[in-house]
Symmetry: C2
Subunit: 492 residues, 2 copies
């Protein structure tokens, strides 16, 4: 098996041993086993603990050698000084891959570094693909329903891969995905990267069919040349969205004590990301916003954005936000203006942003979007104010209708029209291959998770951003990735 | 009555007439009446409509003159060319204040401008304080439970005042407040400002006891000198948080067609905001984030921030975000380090950000916060990762406990400890007068609105931000306002 095949086993194991499984709530040896079980893992689970017969209803083994069947992956959660012995034993019984959760190595200084080297050597000489040490585990929902991580996060199967030098960041991203029903393909917390490195996983993701885009958190790069090579290959196929921890002096200092990372100049790193078409983001929310747009939206041909606003002020601040993000809120052609004239009242503002004027029908709103989809002078669209009608419908629904006001019909009409509108937008994206991003302060908090039209959109990986600034920033990244591809791909 | 007294009547009317009330769902004359009723208005409501006897269960009057009692405020929703006549009539029967919702004036060009002048003259010569035209109405939850606006948003009574040149922005802000249980004092959509202007409301808010901070959306300033004078007076008493629409060329163009605003250079405006201690923000989410922090947090003495992280990666990116926002992630004194040594394991990172290391108890986390509260070298604190424990407790709660694992106790302990922790933080803020901001990606979506500890915090106007960048940005604004006050206030 080469490294890629071993990583394939890591993400698709038919059987897992948990070395150091524990019966004590609060210990990681308990949590990993519990999360693996609760995640619905479809393979064989072999907890290993010398003093217990059964854990959480599963037969437990005194040692690795007692396990009756073959083991694909061993998770290691024992004392640091015992790890290299356990790894050697894994090698002896033919386990191809290990994930060492145990901390207390390089991150603690010279002594830990020495210990880490013995662990890495044990894995290397046994031909074992080792993740960690000091890591938070692995998720891979498809096909084995594998969730074997420190944090109990269970995002559905999907197409986002995550590789992270921070276990907590890996957890945060998965939590955001899980709670918003966005699927992931793989997640790996690489920890101290004694053997397997971020670059190895980037390479794996290039050809991994489950993965459509990659998220990475890194604090340092050990092999700059290989990182660039793999990033370049990857970004020709799939977007790579990255947070670099340690941009500032204090960040660098913090990263050093976190993973022992020695970061170079941030300006140099930034230049590399631009060369390699890497989309650099600032924090987890930003990463999530961006990732979901890349999952569902086509890459636009250029930076000309059309804004369709359900209200003047919204259009103004979104135009400012677009401009600030380097997007061009482009003038509309006379042809487009005339097409809009036919659908809008005579006093409409005749420019971009297209202001729908208070009280205009939803039909006109969606028609305006379609006109911008069809025209040549706009590459992408931002719509503003979706969800605005729901509070109206809610308050009308509360009327006791003694006066034949047709309350029921009105409310049903409003809800239906929201749902129809969302399907219309999804259809527009597909048909005209222009991104349509939605921004609205009316889709927030608990309401967001109860609105059927919003949930329909989310199933297709389309989010509604509660901030015009976040929306513009995400769109600008789609634009820049498109420009990178145009620059670097051979003409087809 | 002077202008201030008339504005006082606007926000505290004992009776309201709705001129142009309608029985048709979908018309504004219906919506305003409905929202006023559903908002639980405590005064008298007099719908005016020449052809209807009753609307939504309320006796309706053929004309203003038929109304039996005195009217404090008239809302005007009739055709633009009828408005000046109606205003004059209001004057004749002694109504001191009007809110003109009707659009079709200055925003449509020279003809509309002429019409607007006649309306303004009618109000001026009748001595009426007029809001609008082309506005979205007024909210003032305390004491009359007044919600008379285009959009049905019902934020609870509280201490945030909103003055907005955009009705939709006013709606967005109120919606965000409402859905997150943050109270407002007043909201006024000033529209075309034919008579009453943003500056008049800023002046009113200076002495309005209900108002502790002011949010403003503006596209242009008609009287720069007065705007600066009122802003300066206000910011000595209360924070003024402002969005300026029309920062960019396209934004300016959009603003011109929205409210006829002629914006000056953005750089000049930015200099004014700095001189006047105005806190400038970018969009509604940003405004909301910032407003809530100003409501609940003390203003810090300086820019030195301490970070307490439940995980290394979180600390790194937050240190970067703080640095990027101009905050100083300051070194800790030997005394502080020793105090932390007593509470943390020997291998802790001994620096700021303080990394709690995976698996540390919540007790140690809160103790670390207290140590930073007590020390001299830190002015404010950001904590990371709250809510991280909840998914653990949830998955443990799902265990069928056949093995005496003490599941129930563990889960109860986790939930209690979260709640105790939140109250401890609130107590720390009060006792040490340093802001403590919370950032966590684990408090998002529907979970946020169900977590008791989170709701306890929110009742005290403390939010948990799902982004380290947003958290750092908000804290930096608290710092800058503190520096402004130190610069401008006489020493006490």
């Amino acid at each position: 098996m080469d490294v890629n095949e071993k990583i394939d086993t890591l993400f698709n194991p038919k059987s897992i041993a948990i070395i150091g499984a524990s019966k004590t709530i609060g210990k990681w040896g308990f949590a990993f086993l519990l999360h693996l079980i609760k995640g619905g893992y479809k393979g064989e689970i072999y907890p290993v603990n010398p003093t217990v017969d059964e854990l959480l209803g599963i037969k437990t083994y005194k040692s690795l050698r007692e396990i009756p069947g073959p083991v694909d992956v061993a998770f290691v959660l024992i004392q640091p000084e015992q790890v290299s012995r356990a790894i050697a034993e894994c090698g002896e019984i033919g386990i191809p891959a290990c994930v060492v959760i145990t901390a207390g190595f390089k991150e603690l200084g010279p002594e830990g570094m020495k210990l880490e080297k013995t662990v890495a050597n044990a894995a290397r000489s046994a031909g074992i693909a080792m993740v960690g040490p000091n890591c938070a585990g692995i998720s891979s929902p498809h096909p084995m329903s594998l969730y074997c991580m420190m944090q109990p996060n269970f995002p559905p199967p999907g197409n986002i891969a995550i590789v992270s030098q921070s276990g907590n960041l890996a957890g945060s991203i998965q939590h955001m995905c899980w709670k918003q029903d966005i699927g992931i393909s793989r997640c790996v917390s690489v920890g101290n990267q004694a053997l397997l490195k971020t670059e190895d996983f980037l390479e794996y993701f290039i050809t991994d069919k489950q993965t459509h885009l990659v998220l990475a958190y890194i604090e340092s790069v050990s092999d700059g040349k290989r990182f660039m090579e793999m990033s370049r290959k990857l970004t020709q196929e799939k977007p790579l969205i990255l947070i670099k921890g340690g941009k500032s002096e204090v960040g660098v200092r913090a990263a050093k004590s976190h993973t022992g990372a020695i970061a170079g100049s941030d300006a140099a790193f930034d230049a590399i990301t631009k060369q390699c078409g890497i989309i650099r983001v600032d924090d987890v929310e930003d990463m999530f916003d961006t990732a979901v747009a890349f999952l569902s939206q086509p890459v636009p041909k250029g930076n000309r954005v059309g804004i369709v606003a359900n209200g003047g002020g919204w259009g103004v601040i979104t135009a400012d936000a677009c401009s600030n993000s380097g997007l061009n809120v482009a003038p509309l052609s006379e042809k487009t203006l005339q097409a809009l004239d036919n659908r809008l009242p005579p006093w409409w503002n005749r420019q971009n942003p297209v202001d729908m004027v208070a009280g205009m029908s939803r039909g006109a709103f969606f028609k305006a979007v379609e006109i911008l989809c069809k025209c040549d002078e706009i590459d992408s669209i931002i719509t503003l104010g979706f969800g605005y009608g729901k509070p109206f419908a809610d308050v009308i629904a509360s009327i006791t209708d003694g006066e034949n006001l047709n309350v029921t019909e009105y409310v049903k009409g409003a809800i239906d029209s929201d749902k129809r509108g969302m399907h219309f937008l999804l259809d527009m994206i597909k048909r005209y291959k222009k991104p349509i991003l939605l921004s609205s302060e009316y889709i927030i908090g608990a309401d967001r998770d109860k609105n059927e039209a919003v949930l329909d959109l989310r199933k297709k990986n389309v989010l509604i951003y509660p901030s015009s600034r976040r929306t513009a920033r995400v769109l600008a990244r789609l634009v820049r990735y498109g420009q990178y591809l145009q620059r670097t791909l051979p003409l087809s």
